[in-house]
Subunit: 366 residues, 2 copies
């Protein structure tokens, strides 16, 4: 064999790809971790109990393949949103659902569109699929011009609601309008919807071109378990079932997700507290004269100032200062459109106090 | 919007796709389940303990994202095979690893080849990727003509060793020969290698075009946890890392896999027993004059006869008879090349006794 040249063996779309860079997962303890929008409390005790029950005395059940279609989880997710089970799909985290949707509905001929900015994974997944990616800018104050979406020529449109990285939330009406006017598949990515109080899930009964995606990572405290779902007309679910792995969720993830999703009694007060802390930290930013997008999610994207100056220098400096105090936020240094701001997960009241004290100290020149 | 036409929205490769059909996972108890090659015993107690430790008192850790690169699992898998951690990759089951390999190294221009028959998932995944799929027939008595592989023009070659669905095993030398002569990526799919005693894993240190894939599903009793791995030169691992999901294994799966893989003390005697039962059931088939492929795996593909007649009718009849007795084997009715045989997982000695009794009864006309 001639000398092996790996570069020539890589598929065309992957050869041009740099992978998505997820937020840092620091090792060791002592961090105030506000960088990847995790839920600040443990998941429902029902999730832990379900895992223990599935594990049983000697974990014997783990030797058997899981339910191929995650039947129990699909049923529980559908029930929580008031849908029939055949409208539900389960995935290994909602990122997996997004990936499968792009495989199913995009390719070299079928392009993908989103509003700019939105979740930064969509362009990575589209590139991997060899699909053209169209960025439609928001209007002033994050307004949406639906005619631009309708005339984009895309086959697939992703709508992050609440938006990432801004946290800004939109009402159900705009989803209805997009789904009505866009002649393609509309995906509403509702990772942060548990903190906005608005979901478009029920609309999948009305719109045959609509997919609503959710995750247990943000609103259910189960980021470590990789549990995502999607709701759509059964005709769309059938297509997604073709492209997923035969056994895409393990037994313990299925059990945890099915047990947790409907436990409103446990989650509702915790989510309310997060929303309350979110409002308070926004007031804190107001008091400093800092800017931010009004958030409907469990994070706030804010722009700090130092000596009255906003910009990337101030943001980078605050981010580094906080990190030196083991307070970890998320800073997108390489993306010029957001490098003047920092994304902060809303944590527990105690974590928010630590953050505010440090931020205040920094604002006064340390 | 005009009437929505879903068929026109599906990506070209997926529109022609019918999904892979996995073996039946019967609900309810009482089955002698010998249809999907699961390990007949629970996983190592270390796996259960690791899950409990990760779960902790209140499952609090589950709220945090897992290690993005499954660091502990990669290290444990590499160690077990005598490799450095940077040669290891972890996936959500080995089917996920196979899918990612095809995404990374196949497309409309870069084709995929395998020996026929091999694991039937490869053509499904190739079709999904829009890649041409080349089938190279085995020679007489499952002999392999490496020159046909070398001249196939494919970019990616899958070698199931031991083979599925025949169970037949090949030595390391043939892997060396293929990797030397094929100018592309060679994937050795070793799902069943724990029962053959032969693995090519160490060869990834020598061949920069070699990937060796494994799974905890068959040899480690963890099919329910979706834990797979791949070994290759770090330059290949880097490409696979680009195409995988950022957090592709959940915390409990990572913990279970890392704890189980090296527990040779637990697994070795159980695997030895399975191998012994495999030899005994082959002797049983000999005693009936039935045919089978000599197996190096934890299943046997055999061809039953009734009144001296082999063929699809006998196989289908025996399969149905056993199923009526709640003994579930795997029958590929729609694949004419193997519809004269049945695939049987090697179970516990007690399960094998039940099977043999029923098969004997059937052979005598019930």
């Amino acid at each position: 064999m001639a000398k092996f040249n790996l570069a020539k063996k890589i598929s065309a779309s992957v050869s041009k790809l740099s992978g998505y860079v997820p937020g840092e997962q620091p090792e060791g303890g002592g961090w105030v971790k506000l960088n990847t929008n995790e839920f600040p409390y443990p998941p429902s005790p029902k999730a832990a109990r379900a895992v223990l029950a599935e594990l049983g005395k000697d974990a014997a059940r783990l030797r058997l393949y899981p339910s191929p279609d995650s039947r129990g989880l699909r049923a529980a997710a559908a029930k929580y949103y008031g849908l029939k089970p055949e409208f539900a799909f389960a995935a290994n985290g909602s990122d997996d659902a997004l990936n499968l949707i792009i495989r199913a509905f995009a390719d070299g001929e079928k392009s993908v569109a989103t509003l700019e900015p939105s979740y930064s994974l969509y362009p990575v997944l589209s590139k991997m699929q060899g699909a053209k990616f169209v960025r439609i800018p928001f209007g002033k104050n994050l307004s949406i011009d639906v005619s631009k979406i309708a005339s984009s020529g895309a086959n697939l449109f992703f709508f992050t609601n609440p938006n990432a990285p801004t946290g800004f939330g939109f009402g159900r009406e705009i989803v209805e309008e997009i789904a009505s006017r866009f002649d393609g598949i509309v995906v509403v990515d509702e990772a942060y919807a548990p903190f906005s109080g608005a979901t478009a899930a029920k609309l999948v009964e009305k719109f045959k071109n609509l997919i609503v995606v959710g995750t247990s990572s943000k609103g259910w405290g189960l980021a470590g378990m990789r549990i995502g779902w999607a709701f759509a007309d059964p005709s769309i679910i059938e297509v997604l079932d073709r492209v997923r792995d035969s056994y895409n969720l393990d037994r313990l993830a299925q059990a945890a997700g099915a047990a947790a999703i409907g436990d409103e009694k446990y989650y509702a007060p915790l989510r309310a507290e997060i929303v309350s802390e979110r409002e308070k930290v926004q007031e804190f930013f107001d008091s400093l004269g800092w800017r931010y997008f009004k958030s409907s999610s469990n994070f706030v994207f804010f722009k700090p100032s130092k000596n009255g100056k906003f910009g990337a220098r101030a943001a980078a400096d605050l981010f580094a200062y906080l990190k030196s105090k083991k307070i970890l936020l998320r800073y997108f240094a390489s993306d010029k459109s957001v490098s003047d701001g920092i994304r902060m997960t809303v944590g527990t009241p105690a974590q928010m106090e630590i953050f505010k004290k440090a931020a205040l100290k920094w604002s006064k020149g340390k």
